[in-house]
Amino acid sequence: MNFLRGYCGKILMVNLSDSTFEEIEIPDTIYEHFLSGVGLGAYILYKYVPKGADPLGPDNILGFVSGLLTGTGSFMTGRWMAVCKSPLTGGFGDANCGGTFSPAIKQCGYDGIFFKGQAQTPVMLFIDNKGPQLLDATALWGLDTVATEAAINQMITAKKKLAIATIGPAGEHQSLIAGISNDGGRMAARSGVGTVMGSKKLKAVVLAGSKMIHCENPETIRTISRDYAKKVKSSNLPPMVTGAILPLMGKSMIATDKAIPIDGMLSTAIMKKWGTGFTNTMGMTMGDTPVKNWKGSVVDFPYLKYRHMNPDLIQKHETQKYHCYSCVIGCGGLCDIKNVTNGRFPHTHKPEYETVAAFGSLLLNKDRDSIFLINELLNRGGMDSISAGNTIAFAMECYEKGWLNQEVTSGLDLTWGNAEAIMTLVEQMIAGTGFGAILQNGVKKASEILGIESAPLAIHAGGQEPGMHDPRLDPILGIHYSCDPTPGRHTIGAGSYYAYMRIWEDVTWAPKVKLGEDKSEEYEATNQVGLKSMVNACIKQILDGSGGCFFAMVSGLNHFKIFDYLNAATGWQKTPNEYMTIGLRMQTLRQAFNVREGINPRNFKMNERLSGHPPLKEGPLKGKSFDMDEMMGVHYQFMGWDKKTGIPTKTALEDLGFCDLEMEDVTHD
């Protein structure tokens, strides 16, 4: 075993039922087949989670995985992931997060820390250089995530600053949309990963190791890093550019249907200034931002309302930037919110675009102060803001139709835009009380409770609520909402991401986006669309296996040289084409997990409202629609899966090779 290859070569398996630990060595060949991060996570889950396991039972495994490149001196590789069987979708589940937790996993000597079984009483895992221990966490149960971190810092003294991942009350009482928080509110939010953590009575993972992370060619890595940093450093918006121009920029983005070559690197200037918040208003005029439970447009939330989400107004609260480990962009921020929360909370992580849209335009809520409060409530409560916002939007539309009244909603008036009611409802959802008890498990469950007539209003794909980006603007986004084994995700792929990545400069079979190409062709299920979506899916797996940041990827792979980084870290000499095969294998394994669990991939198709059925009657996306079934088929085809069913074919499974994993349970032709 070679320990100079970026990865640690082992994982820790913690059995919470009998409080035992097992170090499992992982052979080099596994990393060569699946990388680390999500690939290693999928390998472990597929191998050790029995088919049919109850996601909230002892047989499910929850993993915390770092990336292959994390801690090697590469930039933009400080992401970690939580992996599990998802209680929300019934299939493979994962959630991506930044903060400071990722390097801490490897500094304990592991590429991943996995938990099986269930503790009898609340526990936390603590690891330092002496090794792992399970400690009693009864006193922490019931605390929010911020209070938990503070309490743990009082309870445990270590030489190194503690890196803590914890659940809040939402995960404790097993809301299906619970997430895991790190560093005061950086969230691994999706798939119900916090729910699984709560089901195991695991309150927190606390890391204080300081082992070194080695790699094959550190000098090469540093050279790549310096080149990237130099470009990012010189990408700055001039001071005169303010948020006022963002709506105009949004309009200009859709002024033409022709593709224009885009240099993603200069977008880092925008990210440095505003973070993801630039989309708050630019997305309104583009049509990217969903409005009124995805049935409205900027006509329903016009300038006089959306101007309150101008990112300049959010920046006013920012006291300093925040960035994940090894990030040179720094899109995050810490915001002073004493005055807007009547002193209830001193500060919060700057609300991301997803939260601003999910609780702003999606609910026709123009009260910006309420969004700061909701952001902090959800971070502390440990609940996914995308899921929570979508679920409240569903309830509001039901209320509008008269299907809900104030008797059912615990007295809450769920008129669109009622910020007071929204804030109260969020608190109820986190606590699992009142009307929140019905909504706390996400939109699909809420719809099942309210009745079959409400199903068309429940916006989800396979149970997962979608991110705040409209497939009617970018249909390839819709493909990934519907086809990814973790459905409903906005970070897997889109036509726009494909264009920014410029992956054709490395991967010889990736189609080039030519100047003047007709973007409206992306509304048809063509081979080009199938191929682009396949490329998106594969490269995202490589990114998530490496610990890489999505914003680095869309700054352009001609700048963020992930393939060169991977070769330098491991000593491998793989071509980009060969890495893409690894990405394809990783994605196929995730799909195989779902098929083995009896999931019909076609059932993950997203709500038809998002493919324009019926089409919007006004706004920038007026009349836009596409055939989601056809689009899914062409994606499956290019993934090497059966075009009709989405099940990996026998040929695909044999060609890719899955080491020691038993693939016979995956039904194939």
Binding site: L237, M249, S252, I260, P261, D263, E352, G467, K514
Partner: protein
């Protein structure tokens, strides 16, 4: 000489080939790129332009293979 252009959306794209390359006279300056792309004068203050990822003056002389990028935002998460 050929330079790589990442133009703003409202530019005249007829001067570029399908790979976004622009042919210029040797020794041409950045101002000639603005002229060839017909970037309207009124919009020029809104446009941020980098040559090889550095802010430079409009009269900067270009060379073969230079990358000229006009800032464009992208949707975030």
């Amino acid at each position: 000489m050929k330079v790589q252009i990442y133009p703003p959306p409202f530019a005249n794209l007829n001067a570029l080939d399908e790979d976004g390359m622009l042919i210029l006279e040797p020794g041409a300056r950045l101002s000639s790129v603005y002229r060839r792309l017909k970037i309207p004068l009124v919009l020029q203050p809104l446009v941020i332009c980098h040559v090889n990822y550095q802010r430079v003056k409009l009269n900067t002389q270009l060379k073969d293979g230079d990358v000229i990028s006009f800032i464009l935002p992208l949707a975030g998460g």
